[in-house]
């Protein structure tokens, strides 16, 4: 497809989204090192183009379902940086006031219907949201992001068959970053492409896309979203990419074969995209201004989160039930 099928403002949005994710994830990493983020955290460094490409193609009322590796998708839908960083730091200003933590970012106002930390669990849930959209005739599409390792768990299979049989407006996006935690995906999977090579098992088209090319992702996103919105049913898309950080906070990623990281770093999605934009005639200064604006936003969010108090202990007993409380007795 020609590279001028994507308009100027969309391209800028794609660039900005990637930069936002990159700079915020880097900041998150620094905050770990300062022990201001506790527990665990799963960064999307190197995978920014997937989140950006899809989010920019979505309608504001479409649904996002993602995993513990979901900062990127949450941000890409427009959730505030302060809320994201605040949640990672366990502060009152966090998206969920510190109750969920980094693996469970949720911002319903931005269509982020939850980040799910049990591998595979959100695939059926995303299908259910799509069923709801179908029944309500709302035209909404449900987008579900997960990793290569997730393609080997039972819920993947059930959700794919279910969505295909019911022709649901849901798009399953596998971000194949080559690893399930520390184990190379090929060593535990019977096929080369854990998602795409299984599409036929659900009567779906085999789709592999370059997950480090935001334009390519955006085009596939548009196509599959249009199809779903038009009643054409689900898609399963495998985006090839690579996480350049460890699996989670604790991981030095020593399992990488020599040279692998370097190879993929050459294909850094943001460097590639920046180069393309310059080629297409965007001004270096314009991009630089955007970089700075985003950096300022990240800095501000950081300061804001640091200044935010820790959550009040009363919230421990809140929000189990719709009445706001947690009482199990009269």
């Amino acid at each position: 497809m020609a590279s001028d099928d994507i308009d100027r403002s969309t391209r800028l949005a794609l660039y900005r989204s990637q930069i936002e994710i990159r700079l915020l994830e880097k900041r998150a990493y620094e905050l770990f090192l300062q022990n201001l983020i506790k527990g665990t955290s799963h960064l999307s460094l190197g995978q920014e183009a997937v989140a950006a490409g899809f989010a920019v193609a979505m309608r504001p009322d479409d649904y996002t379902y993602c995993t513990y590796r979901g900062h990127s998708h949450t941000l890409a839908r427009g959730a505030p940086m302060l809320g994201v960083l605040g949640e990672l730091m366990g502060r009152r200003c966090g998206l969920m006031g510190g109750k969920g933590g980094s693996m469970h970012l949720t911002s319903v106002a931005h269509g982020v219907m939850g980040s799910y930390a049990i591998v595979g669990a959100h695939l059926p849930v995303a299908a259910g949201a799509a069923w709801s959209a179908q029944l309500r005739g709302s035209g909404q599409v449900s987008l579900c992001f997960f990793g290569d390792g997730t393609c080997n768990i039972g819920a993947f299979h059930e959700a794919l068959n279910f969505a295909a049989v019911w022709k649901l407006p849901v798009i399953f996006v596998c971000e194949n970053n080559q690893y399930m935690e520390y184990t190379p995906i090929r060593s535990v999977t019977a096929v080369e492409h854990p998602a795409a090579d299984r599409a036929a098992a659900y009567g779906l088209e085999r789709i592999v896309v370059d997950g480090n090319d935001a334009d390519a992702v955006y085009r596939k996103a548009r196509e599959s979203i249009d199809k779903a919105r038009g009643g054409g049913g689900p898609s399963l898309i495998e985006a090839m990419t690579y996480r350049t950080s460890g699996h989670s906070r604790a991981d030095p990623a020593k399992y990488r074969p020599p040279g692998e990281l370097e190879e993929w770093t050459k294909r850094d999605p943001i460097a590639l995209y920046r180069a393309r934009l310059l080629e297409l005639g965007f001004e270096e200064s314009e991009l630089r201004a955007m970089d700075s604006a985003v950096q300022r936003a990240v800095d501000e969010a950081t300061e804001g989160a640091k200044a935010s108090p820790t959550p009040p202990l009363e919230v421990i007993d809140k929000d189990v039930w719709a009445d706001g409380g947690s009482s199990w007795r009269n």
Partner: protein
């Protein structure tokens, strides 16, 4: 008042709610065209059409997960899990996802959904189709738990469950499906979290649930003849738990017996006994006695199954022996 079977009351309760609220949808295995393997949902497909009443593949994770996704996006789904034993294959969805979602996101998501399931023994199906797992669910924060013992309660509590803004696990008892009872005409909606005192006595208080309720009542009648006067409480709901009624009724007699079908360890009887042992200790006149299925899987053959779950005889004998 019409007389309905427990089984018919299920369909009646679902139909009442589907008529009232078009957001109510229903899905499960063999539930639509076939009307359910226990014939609890006969006629719903015809009445409400294939968009709202849907047959699914054998994919319990997808069934429960779809209900969750639908509930958080504006519908009020009822999902059927054919046998409660199959909570095993959907446990992550029930215990880790549905139960925790609202809490983790500090109330951003609502999950008004019902999971109906056939629970309990008495059908000679063997260990994997006869379990009572109400205690599994009670042990998980974030789930409401209902288990009616008669047709009127089935309809009224099912309606209440559908209208409740939180996830409710609704246990129907296989062994009660064929039983009959009066069900109020017209719209019937009950209240979750309310136990019922079915019989007032002065010597002992017997607390039971679902299929154990008629047994407790029969036992009470027999004990009456032997000069032991028993209060019988039908719990109806485990979460919310009507601790008020439990404590009041226990204090009146000073002796508490629980009769439960789930296996012994960490059953709901243990929870109730513990609440009473802490909060009504000084009102007790003797040990709290739990009458339970022993801590074994259920055997299949008639005599074996019948003698594993608490029987009327065992209740009578236990109370007689210990109430002195």
């Amino acid at each position: 008042m019409a007389e309905l079977t427990y089984r018919e009351a299920v369909a009646a309760g679902i139909a009442q709610e589907m008529e009232r609220d078009e957001r109510v949808v229903f899905l499960g295995e063999d539930v639509a065209a076939a009307g359910g393997v226990f014939k609890t949902t006969v006629g719903l497909l015809e009445k409400f059409g294939p968009c709202r009443v849907r047959d699914t593949p054998i994919s319990e994770q997808a069934i429960v997960g779809a209900a969750m996704g639908a509930a958080m996006t504006g519908l009020r789904p009822i999902a059927e899990i054919m046998f409660s034993d199959f909570f095993g294959v959907s446990w992550d969805m029930i215990a880790n996802e549905i139960a925790k979602a609202r809490y983790m996101c500090a109330g951003q998501l609502a999950l008004p959904l019902v999971i109906r399931t056939a629970n309990g023994s008495g059908s000679r199906f063997g260990a994997q189709h006869s379990q009572s797992v109400e205690n599994w669910v009670m042990a998980v924060p974030g789930l409401k738990v209902v288990a009616p013992s008669n047709p009127a309660d089935v309809k009224g509590l099912l309606a209440a469950a559908v209208r409740d803004p939180d996830p409710v696990i609704f246990f129907e008892h296989k062994g009660l499906y064929a039983t009959k009872g009066e069900v109020p005409d017209g719209e019937h909606v009950d209240r979750l979290g309310t136990a019922k005192v079915l019989r007032q006595g002065s010597d002992v208080t017997i607390v039971a649930l679902a299929a154990m309720v008629p047994r407790a009542l029969q036992a009470a009648q027999r004990l009456e003849k032997e000069g032991i006067s028993a209060t019988v409480v039908d719990l109806r709901s485990l979460v919310p738990l009507d601790t008020k009624t439990l404590l009041v009724e226990t204090k009146k007699t000073g002796r508490l017996y629980t009769v439960e079908e789930n296996p012994r360890l960490c059953g709901w009887g243990a929870e109730i006994a513990s609440i009473v042992a802490e909060e009504a200790f000084y009102d007790l006149d003797g040990p709290i006695v739990r009458i339970t299925t022993p801590h074994v899987p259920l055997p299949a053959a008639d005599e074996l199954e019948d003698n594993t779950v608490p029987t009327v005889e065992r209740i009578v004998e236990t109370v007689r022996r210990t109430a002195g």
